[in-house]
């Protein structure tokens, strides 16, 4: 069996499992893949012998540990590639999905990780789209808690500068900041800065006064 075919099968089974919360039967898998059931049946035998799946009674196909790992990895690659192609390169979703199906078998893990990070960064910058890129793209799960973020904080900027909000660290006050419109991608300008770092920031046409410690938790990008 071709490696790409094997990966396609494992990916499909994993996808089915995540979507429907149970492992597929022959017939179900055949419908999902649009292949005749007899062909699926014979291919499964190859997968059993390679140790990727095990067959349960009633024709249920379950992934083994090894099979699951491969399935998940291919799925992630597919999602990241599709997201990259559609959201960043602007291809239409169907074409992007087809293309991702071909690319996913050849691409390395590192490339996927880097692509993932790139997409997250672009997203944070106000594309306001969240594709299906998701899992394990290399950034901690909550931007709010992300202390490793390298963008400058709004308190490093000077009076009169224009910025784009990038992220907000720490949970404290995050809610009120969100309500006042400090969400990633929003444009803001600094109207006043006192020597201790207290700021008046204009955002969404409103002036908001911030203590220095709150300001230092808001990561921004400078804009012109």
């Amino acid at each position: 069996m071709l490696p790409s075919l094997r990966e396609d099968y494992l990916e499909a089974i994993q996808q089915f499992l995540e979507k429907n919360a149970h492992s597929p039967r022959y017939a179900e898998l055949a419908v999902t893949l649009g292949k005749p059931e007899s062909l699926v049946c014979s291919d499964m035998k190859d997968l059993v012998s390679s140790g990727d799946v095990s067959l349960l009674p009633d024709g249920v196909i379950a992934l083994t540990g090894k099979g699951k790992q491969t399935g998940e990895s291919v799925m992630k690659k597919h999602e990241t590639l599709q997201c990259f192609l559609s959201e960043i390169l602007g291809m239409d979703t169907a074409t992007a999905s087809d293309e991702a199906c071909t690319l996913e078998h050849a691409v390395s893990d590192e490339t996927i990780d880097r692509l993932g990070r790139l997409i997250v960064k672009r997203d944070g910058l106000g594309q306001h789209r969240w594709g299906k890129h998701g899992k394990g793209a290399g950034i901690s799960p909550r931007a709010e808690n992300d202390h490793d973020c390298e963008c400058p904080s709004i308190s490093d900027c000077d009076e009169g500068e224009n910025v784009i909000i990038h992220c907000i660290h720490g949970r404290a006050g995050a809610k009120r900041l969100l309500d006042l419109g400090m969400v990633p991608g929003e444009h803001a300008s600094i109207k006043r800065k006192l020597s201790d770092g207290a700021l008046v920031v204009q955002i969404k046409g409103c002036d908001v006064a911030l203590s220095p410690e709150i300001a230092s938790a808001i990561g921004v990008e400078r804009s012109s």
């Binding site: 998701g134 950034i139 995050a174 409103c206």
Partner: protein
Amino acid sequence: MKIALLGNPGVGKSLIFNQLTGLGIEVNRYPGTSVCLECGNVCYKKEKIEIIDLPGIYSLDGNSEEELLVRTFLEHGGAEVIVAVLDATKLERNLYLFTQVTEFLPRVITVVNMIDEADRQGLIIDGGELSSLLGVPVLLTAASEGREIDRILPLALGSAKIATLQVPYDHHIEAALKSLEKTLGSPRSKSLLALQGIGEDRMLLDAAGAVAHEIELRHHMSVRQIIATNRHNLSRNIATSVVRRGDRKKTYDLDSLLTRVFPGVPILCAILFFLLLSVFVIGSWMQELIVQTFTTYIIVPFTALELPPLVERIGFSVLIALEAGLGIAFPFIFTFYLGLSLLEDTGYMTRAAFLADRAMHRLGLHGEAIIPMVIGFGCTVPAIMSIRILKTRREQTIAAFLISMVPCSARTVVIAGIVAAFVGIFWAFSIYMIVFILIILTAVMLTRITPGEQFGMIVEMSVLRRPQARLVLAKSWLRIKEFLFIAMPLLIVTSIALGLLQYYGVTEAFEQLVAPITVTLLGLPEYASTALLFGIFRKELAFETLAVLSGTADLGSVMTAGQLYTFAIVSVLFVPCISTIAVLYRQLGARIAIMISVYTVFLGLTIGAIINMLIT
């Protein structure tokens, strides 16, 4: 029929409310909170309509008391019609709250207020387009000019609709909402809150929590952030399609003066000093006028009746309480509230908070704390109630300690009546200085020992505008009414109790008991301890009782200047009044209330003893 006004802080809700209801406002405390709801009744086409002014909020999924109140209000369908008030100059940000309101599916009309201000800024708003986007009737008003306000009621009663607007959330959130609805039958508004960890239904919270975690892993963003961003995006799209920007008329930006360290800070100090000075001067003048009239026309005729001793005692206590409430507290507190409401209505207080942020950080607080501190110069009780704007327990504790020490208007009476009158005006100010120094020292100590975390200031600067005399008066009247409502019954009851204690000789026994402290430690006459005791009930009573017990209003003839000074400083520092202790207990619990009381007694006695040692 009930109609509720809902909107962001500072959108002119109160002004609209006042114009709809006139001055017949009642203040109802909402059960279980210290947040006030203002209600008023109007008659329209022979139907009684109750109008409710909900507190100004930014969002419905926060956890502040105001947000909680409005949320429960909407959840329980507290009003038949919601009038959503939006600020025309900040339409986009205001629509954010509107998108949340629609999720509770109330019948709504939208009032876009401050259309006059928007005109000045060159913003043109297409009301028809907005109405079709939101799916509810829209009215463009200018409350400050009274424009179109009379159309609010007919529109609210006739054509309020459930909004057709629905926030298109990120597809993962939408999927989660659908599945929560399918599995647990939870409505959209409830599921959205549950995804953000808000609610009481354990099952729903658990289910939502699991999904929320999954979504956060996929998005690298908290669910709150995703939801907020979706709402903001929708608001922006609506705002862009209904607001046209014309030429902005040039206006002078006062903030270039007010928010800079120079001349902002000197202006801030001058304003606060002027506020306190006018309270001091106008208050003393009004007090003298009222007390004199009261004594001549009521107290003197009453004592001339020569009733049986016990009846006379009780009657006298009631009269004294009334005199103190109306003649002493009222002039100072009302004058103060007028000044405070004036300052608030200009929008200056948020500038004060911004400038004070740095100094307040040194005291373990942040800029917003200046508002309760300033209110504390009027009366400690509402000041303590307003510390809920501070977000952590640590800040609330520190603020409560400091506010309990700020010289309120009753203490101003003591300082003015004893020290300024008999010792000298300079010495009166020295008492203020001593108190301020003690406040700073206390704060420095508290910042080191109080557990908990500090939270910074996030304040929206209100727009500077010319205050309206009518609104300032209405606001001050509401506040003084609240004060009289809380304080008056307490004044009368404690006054009678003290009268009886005195009648049965209990106070004399008490004087004997604490004589070592009063006489030896503080160098005061024995009867001063009773006066101080009365001061626990109401600060200014300390001054009056002293006059009664010493048998003359000319205190200078019976006590030395040093004794008067010591007495004044002890009664100013010594234990907050009983109403303060009650409100401390309600806001922060028994432990803090007791700690503050004990600390201030200790402080009062120590400082009194030191001053006594210095002068003898």
